[in-house]
């Protein structure tokens, strides 16, 4: 049995191709059962997200399985094979194991370290389990992928740093105020990016929202969305006195907030810290205000700088994660190779059993007068002898050694076992 992964993702296929090959809603069940019907496919699970479609399978023969799966995809999704063939990646055995472990740990994601993929993989696994389309090998592989992803999460800081401007703003706000609940927040202007950052702040607990926009009506609309209040643009300075976080994006060509104004505001608010985010280009807030004590001003470049640093950090952590994955792949490959000796052990046991039955039969024919009780004792003794005889080779076969293949061949030769009969 071989592990085979066929798939495409955001790096290999455009969104149109990904959409066409996606297994959404009822298509998932049909797809999984359809794949299971392919003769070479023994086990299957399907992961379908907006960024990737991957088929995890265990197959008896790789080459023919790949062709049949491609044909199936073409037929099932009603798409020409040539339209998606180039976007596909195919991984087998060790490569396949490594691939699924990397996917689960989010090293293959668009944003490295994003946590959603693990949940999606768990769902795919649960679905396959509920439909009984997986077996020993895929179950073990999926569980290994999930546990490895958890190990990566706990042993590295891969997901700790914010990698979008809005999340960077939230991360910084938390380093100033700890808890954002109970903090007041003002949206100065109503740019799209500012709105997004505002949404993240509200999701992180900011309760009091004020919107000051040049067009008061637009301000009212936006304030309603955040369950906040609209403020007339002329009054925003007064409101700043009781505001902890400001996001500014007015689109004005000059500064709308100057150092002197802010100094006054700070005095009035008894120097309580203020976090000011200026995402307008050109900037709307005098950068000099960052020099005032307890004011922390970040413009869009500063935030981008934070994001870039965090990205670098993630890359460093990803290197650590790759090492963890290599370790786990090695463990899994060892486990898989231990499966190789199972058919030989079974055959050995069968052979011994056959010999025992044959010899007992001969014994019975030779001594027909022997009573039942004595016969039972003879059978018991024969069983004990074969058990003792096959115990050492069984133990040797189960041991994790480099020369396992040689050992298997030798045992087959010594005991005259025709291995093929017993293997799958």
């Amino acid at each position: 049995m071989k592990i085979l992964i066929i798939g495409l993702n955001h790096k290999t296929a455009n969104v149109e191709t990904r959409e066409k090959l996606a297994f959404n809603g009822h298509k998932l069940e049909e797809g999984v059962f359809g794949l299971k019907k392919i003769p070479e496919v023994k086990e299957v699970a399907v992961l379908s997200t907006c960024n990737r479609v991957e088929l995890y399978t265990c197959v008896s023969s790789t080459a023919s399985a790949v062709e049949n799966i491609k044909n199936f995809l073409s037929e099932f999704h009603n798409i020409q094979k040539t339209d998606f063939e180039k976007s596909l990646y195919i991984h087998t055995d060790t490569d396949a194991i490594k691939h699924i472990l990397r996917v689960a740990s989010s090293l293959d994601s668009m944003v490295v370290g994003e946590p959603q993929i693990l949940g999606q993989l768990k769902d795919a696994f649960d679905f396959a389990l509920s439909k009984k389309t997986t077996g020993v090998l895929l179950n073990k592989l999926m569980k290994k992928a999930i546990s490895t992803a958890k190990r990566v999460r706990t042993e590295t800081r891969i997901a700790e740093n914010a990698v979008s401007i809005s999340f960077a703003a939230v991360e910084l706000a938390k380093k100033i105020f700890t808890d954002l609940s109970g903090k007041s927040f003002m949206l100065l202007g109503a740019g799209e990016m500012a709105e997004l950052a505002a949404r993240h702040l509200v999701n992180n607990g900011v309760t009091e929202v004020k919107v000051a926009n040049r067009t008061y009506e637009r301000g009212c609309e936006l304030a309603k969305e955040f369950n906040g209040k609209a403020v007339r643009f002329e009054d925003f300075l007064n409101e700043l006195v009781c505001t902890d976080i400001v996001i500014c994006s007015t689109g004005a060509p000059t500064y709308v907030l100057h150092k002197e104004q802010m100094q006054k505001v700070m005095k009035e608010r008894r120097h309580k810290p203020v976090f000011v985010i200026d995402i307008s280009v050109p900037r709307n807030i005098d950068p000099e205000i960052n020099k005032i004590d307890n004011i922390y001003l970040y413009d869009v470049d500063d935030l981008q700088g934070v994001v870039d640093t965090n990205m670098l950090e993630r890359k460093k952590e990803a290197e650590k994660a790759e090492k963890i994955i290599d370790e786990e792949v090695e463990k899994f490959v060892k486990w898989m190779s231990s499966l190789d000796s199972v058919p030989t052990i079974v055959a050995l046991r069968q052979k011994a059993e056959e010999i025992k039955l044959e010899e007992i039969e001969k014994f019975k024919n030779k001594f027909p007068e022997i009573d039942v009780e004595k016969m039972k004792a003879v059978e018991y003794m024969a069983t004990a002898i074969i058990n003792k005889l096959i115990h050492p080779p069984t133990v040797a076969l189960k041991e994790d050694t480099d020369d396992r293949d040689e050992l298997i061949a030798m045992i087959k030769k010594l005991y005259g076992i025709n291995g093929d009969e017993n293997e799958e």
Partner: protein, 271 residues
């Protein structure tokens, strides 16, 4: 026997300080936990050494520089534990343990023999006055560590160069809050220490205040912390300014402790 425990405690504090310094530059939860565990072990052996000394000397061991430095360090660790229990910020230890280690190291350098108490020190005021003073000063020592953390974190946020340490340091609000709390704990203790000291002076020498260098420097310290609290309440001085003042305050305490004892002639000079 007490000396053996003292040496063991010194070794533990040294190890914890080293781990703390490593923790600042390249650490994580694990190293912070290890630092705390070693500090707890150090504190336990340190406490045993103080009990031994108490039994041998028959009085609270705070009458020589060796004893006073050691007891001061013990009080700081005690306050650190309270803080760690309340806020669970592992990295705090990295900023406080160096102070503890330096005090313990200086304690180990000073003569260790037990001298008999002079008649003036044979008073019930001795444990009361000194314990209050040490506990208050220990709160200020921890506030100094917290103030340093605040300045670092503030620097990261202002300069926008957010290093690895930035992520592991607590928020400005938490650091400012702890700093303020420690000063509000330390200040009444110092005030009470000064009052009990004055009462003791009156009973021993016949006057409440003699402008002794230690008294003067204690008063300067008291004014600095009174100023911290005053400007915080009246002018809203907080954050950076409060952090700087708490560091200056602690430097004054160190001078009062070491400078006055070693450089100036004072009635408080230890034997």
């Amino acid at each position: 026997m007490g000396i053996v425990f003292f040496e063991i405690a010194l070794t533990f504090y040294f190890a914890a300080t080293i781990i703390g310094i490593v923790d600042i530059f390249k650490g994580g939860k694990e190293s912070s936990r290890l630092m705390l565990f070693i500090t707890i072990t150090g504190f336990a052996t340190h406490s045993i050494s103080i009990v031994f000394r108490y039994i041998t000397a028959g009085q609270l061991p705070i009458t020589s520089m060796h004893e006073a430095s050691s007891f001061f360090a013990w009080c700081i660790v005690l306050i650190f534990f309270f803080l760690e229990h309340r806020y669970k910020i592992g990295i705090i230890g990295a900023f406080i343990l160096p102070i503890v280690f330096i005090l313990m190291l200086s304690s180990s350098i000073f003569p260790r023999e037990i001298s008999p108490l002079t008649p003036v020190l044979q008073s019930y005021w001795l444990p009361v006055h000194t314990f209050l003073a040490f506990l208050g000063n220990a709160a200020f020592a921890v506030a100094c560590g917290i103030g340093t953390m605040y300045l670092l974190q503030e620097h990261y946020l202002k300069s926008k160069h957010l290093g690895e340490l930035f992520k592991r340091l607590p928020s400005l609000q938490v650091l400012d809050e702890i700093n303020y709390r420690l000063i509000t704990i330390g200040f009444p203790l110092l005030t009470l220490a000064i009052i009990t000291g004055a009462l003791w002076a009156e009973s021993a020498w016949g006057s409440y205040w003699r402008w002794d260098p230690k008294e003067v420097w204690s008063l300067i310290t008291w004014f600095i912390y009174a100023l911290v609290l005053h400007v915080r309440l009246t002018a809203g001085w907080r954050g950076k300014k409060a952090a700087i003042l708490s560091i200056i305050g602690f430097l004054t305490i160190l001078f009062t402790f070491f400078g006055v004892n070693l450089l100036l002639k004072s009635l408080h000079t230890f034997s």
